[in-house]
Symmetry: C2
Subunit: 376 residues, 2 copies
């Protein structure tokens, strides 16, 4: 039985866990490690899909979209009728959808967890809904994304050991139900999600249980949920070796420049984060020399590009003074251009990371990057 998505390991860094690979999907190959732009509501905010596809020098080939949002609006049945999410949103690359679990659990008092699934209220109109592993798979089947994620419970931080243990065991039982319910594995690949909070033995238990199910890919969930970054790195470092080498590893919801490097160093292949587009809408740009806030008066008559070392469309054609003017004038072009630049910056950085792994100088590149970028 051929899986929709498979992974080829090309090269391992001799001095870290960093690795170069290729993710083969029904919508093309994706070079890893990779950063996935987020298109929550079937659009990467403020960008045309063609502009997403031409980010960096190699283009972006995979993006993430959110099952929870699409289920509530416009509804997965409509998207199915439209020929699937790719066609609906005019995106020909690969798509990974999350399961909706994270968003549902984030609702706090607006949801109730049971063995069967979760009851929750819509953030749009307050209507009542029920999500279960089976429903999440049904919805993702209708969306037709290349990679679909298991319906998991993401425990908060801090959470006591008992809660986290119960939660990861529920996640495992739900994963088995997801696998059981997902039929067309040649069209879409189901990835499992490791939980266990910051408890290493629980992470070990979770890894063991989910790897048992022999899935085409695995994610590390429940990180970057409030714990200190050093603790996140420590847990990540402990988690990755528990996952099979021949499967892709996805660190969910993480994508600041420092986390990308630290994740790659520890063996992560896939990342996603709303940071670049959200920062853009607030007038903040990621540059080779650190983050800048375009609102600052210092840029009022600065006719240089956002980032002198950047080769993106925005840096080639516009000045900081113009971008500041757009932001102050509340023009949409401000969000459009800053989003494009920020995504380009991360996509381009990942290209450079991949090249550095190929050339056995990942750790050197990491140092070079942060010598200029500075620490967060």
């Amino acid at each position: 039985m051929k899986h929709a998505v498979s992974y080829t390991l090309i090269k391992e860094d001799p001095r870290s866990e960093a690795r170069r690979g290729v993710l083969h999907t029904p919508h093309g190959d994706v070079q890893t490690p990779v950063f996935m732009p987020v298109g929550t509501q079937a659009t990467v905010k403020a960008m045309k899909p063609e502009d997403v596809a031409s980010l960096g020098s190699e283009g972006a080939h995979i993006l993430l979209s959110n099952t929870y949002h699409l289920y509530l609006r416009p509804g997965h049945e409509l998207i199915k009728k439209a020929g699937g999410l790719h066609k609906f949103m005019n995106w020909n690359g690969a798509i990974l959808t999350d399961s909706g679990g994270f968003q549902v659990f984030s609702l706090g008092h607006l949801r109730k967890i049971e063995e069967g699934g979760v009851f929750f209220r819509s953030y749009i109109d307050g209507s009542g809904h029920h999500f279960s592993p089976e429903i999440s798979i049904d919805v993702q089947n209708a969306l037709g994304s290349d990679i679909i994620m298991a319906f998991d419970e993401c425990a908060p931080y801090p959470a006591d050991r008992r809660y986290v243990k119960d939660s990861l065991e529920l996640t495992t039982r739900w994963l088995a139900r997801c696998k059981e319910h997902h039929k067309d594995v040649e069209r879409q690949s189901l990835f499992g999600i490791m939980q266990g909070g910051v408890y290493k033995d629980l992470r070990a238990q979770s890894a063991e249980e989910i790897v048992e199910l022999d899935l085409p890919g695995y994610a590390i969930g429940g990180l970057s949920v409030g714990e200190p970054k050093e603790l996140m790195y420590e847990v990540m470092e402990d988690c990755v070796p528990r996952l099979p080498k021949d499967k892709p590893r996805y660190l969910m919801g993480v994508g600041s420049p420092d986390c990308l490097f630290e994740g790659v160093e520890r063996g992560i292949d896939l990342f996603d984060c709303v940071l670049p587009t959200r920062e853009a809408r607030h007038g903040r740009a990621l540059t080779s020399h650190g983050k800048i806030n375009i609102k600052n008066a210092a840029y009022e008559d600065d006719l240089g590009p956002l980032d002198p070392e950047c080769d993106c469309y925005v840096c080639r054609n516009y000045s900081r003074a113009y971008l500041r003017h757009l932001f102050k004038s509340e023009e949409m072009l401000s969000s459009m251009l800053l989003s494009e630049h920020n995504l380009h910056f991360l996509v381009r950085t990942m290209e450079k990371i991949r090249k550095s792994i190929e050339e056995d100088r990942f750790l050197e590149y990491k140092k070079e990057f942060f010598d200029k970028y500075g620490k967060f």
Copy 2:
């Protein structure tokens, strides 16, 4: 002395005042009659300049920007320092700037008119400013637009005869000062503005006075300010023959589909209007079969294009259901795509109007258009 902007009349419609021409500008030729997209704050709202340049099948080659807005923010001196408005906003086609007069007079009690000029308060921070014919020219010289407009008073509708007569005479005196003050006529061309409200004898007086000054182009101002459309057409019909045949004629601030056809029929060459982009941001699309509101529930699962007869990027790649989803989800891509479609629709319609004039079937095309489009 060579003027920056000149006009070549190519062909006249034998059965109406419609005419085909070319406007030669320092930033390329513009085929007329033409609709100019509006880029008030140095950006056509929600569009990249390259996407504006590729509207229709021939592209858009001229746009309008607003002196008043750019003077207040980011300031004309900054734009001059940036190398002019074209470079600042990354637009290589022609630019026409208005004089700021219309916006200043729209401020009502926030401004005070004298022979010398107008005192007004900034809508941004309430600061006090003074505009005069000379200052408007200075600002437009700094912006570096290809066509600069005279600083005029645009009388409201209704307004009594005495007011309108005084106002048009002030406009003539100001025009003479603008002409006197504008030196580099080989770089930028000053267009005069005819006023006179809905009083035909006053329009005649205004025309006579401004044509006397022998400028490279003339605009009809003070229409579409509240008067009934039929009255506007009647005044326009009376005005146009009073302007020289060998100069371009610009109808200011007008650009709905019906006004475009009625204006072309009466001999107008240039139009501008915020309608297509403003309508877009409110979820309204111009189509071959009339205006539609994408919010309507009828489009919820309509997988057809916005306009089945449209060949634009949006209609080729997205469904009404998707566009409705974007609008309901308050995604910027909604404004981006609807703006692109609406501008394409008007630019493409003007292309068809030009072709119909070339082929002596303008009136037939007008009928065909409205048989499908319906009346407003």
